[in-house]
Symmetry: C2
Subunit: 213 residues, 2 copies
């Protein structure tokens, strides 16, 4: 090992850093949520549901949020009371429930004020650093996904429409078969509502090609 007995290894300090930034961003989230009469957790659930034609069930929402199932039930009930989402019976499993955004729920997601701390903090980085940060976050998220620590996110790198380095153009090397257009590293999505999960084999191959490029 490189630094034996270091009481503060780099993963520990990176976690500290992430934690500080997360605390700061909570302020943004409250502001944004309060504007539509919600709180950050509720708004996060609505964002999760946006674009999911098949909705999500309670367990999935809990997993995405990293909370227990009863906690998810609580927040879903609060949102249902506010008519921001609705529950429908799952086809073929009468124990289960599927949760969908209502038009009112979708409306809560519309306003995007800008002028946030996130924007400010990311804006203080140069373009290359921004791109590297995005890639690094994607890498970390993907790793957590593949080790089943978190559910699959709607990222390009797990999407069946994503073709990494399909073009010789270094500026826009990637291709999205959904919108049928080329795009660059800086444009990679973290939560795309057009995402369709590729099968594991295909995902692995895509990631391979993405890393190699």
């Amino acid at each position: 090992m490189e630094t034996p007995k270091n009481p503060f290894p780099i993963d520990f300090r990176i976690r500290e850093g992430l934690s500080r930034i997360a605390m700061a961003l909570r302020v943004d989230e409250w502001k944004k949520a309060k504007d539509v009469g919600l709180n950050p957790t509720q708004l996060a659930i609505l964002a999760l549901l946006e674009g999911r034609k098949d909705g999500l069930n309670v367990k999935e929402i809990a997993a995405h949020l990293g909370v227990s199932q009863p906690t998810a039930t609580d927040s879903i009930a609060a949102l249902e009371k506010k008519q921001r989402l609705e529950k429908r019976a799952e086809q073929g499993d009468r124990r289960a429930v599927r949760v969908y955004l209502t038009p009112m729920g979708l409306a809560a997601l519309q306003p995007d004020t800008g002028d946030s701390l996130a924007e400010q903090a990311v804006g203080s980085l140069d373009k290359l650093e921004q791109q590297q940060l995005l890639l690094t976050l994607i890498k970390m998220i993907r790793h957590l996904q593949e080790s089943d620590a978190i559910p699959v996110q709607r990222m390009c790198v797990t999407c069946r429409y994503f073709a990494p380095f399909a073009h010789p153009d270094a500026g826009q090397p990637h291709h999205c078969h959904f919108v049928n257009a080329a795009f660059g590293q800086r444009e990679l999505r973290v939560d795309c509502r057009d995402h369709e999960e590729a099968d594991p084999t295909s995902r692995a191959a895509t990631w391979e090609a993405f890393q190699a490029g």
Copy 2:
């Protein structure tokens, strides 16, 4: 501008990524906190207090956590009841209160199990990426500090003991005058309990030298 009218600018997507990772890390935090009979917020307050000989007052704790002052009062009261911290009168201001860790509070901070999701996620990055990520996070945090969005953190780059690029050795270019030792980019601290805040002018000069190096 480079990508006009892009509905998902890179700062937005980076924030999404940070948010996903933060959700995942909450699970770690609960596990760690539960082991000592606390919750993540309470443990965060104790961590904040560690090594602060002058303690912190309620307002400062609220600012660090990104919550309102009454919320900080709540959590402080919960910790006080559990004898993890104590409040003492502020010298010279009888309105104010200073909060200090008790020996029991310090004990709660000791156990460090390892094997966390953070460790796993950061471990999936190569060394260079880890270092870049740490530097990028430090840069973002510093920017939020300097624009008064968050309180000054106990990072090397704002510490009066920190001498950036004081040594020709590319592996360990920095020097800490507190422990009187050289150290490398990978060893930069995010929350050092020996931190002493440098004055703004000096901080700016240090940052300048750090960036130039």
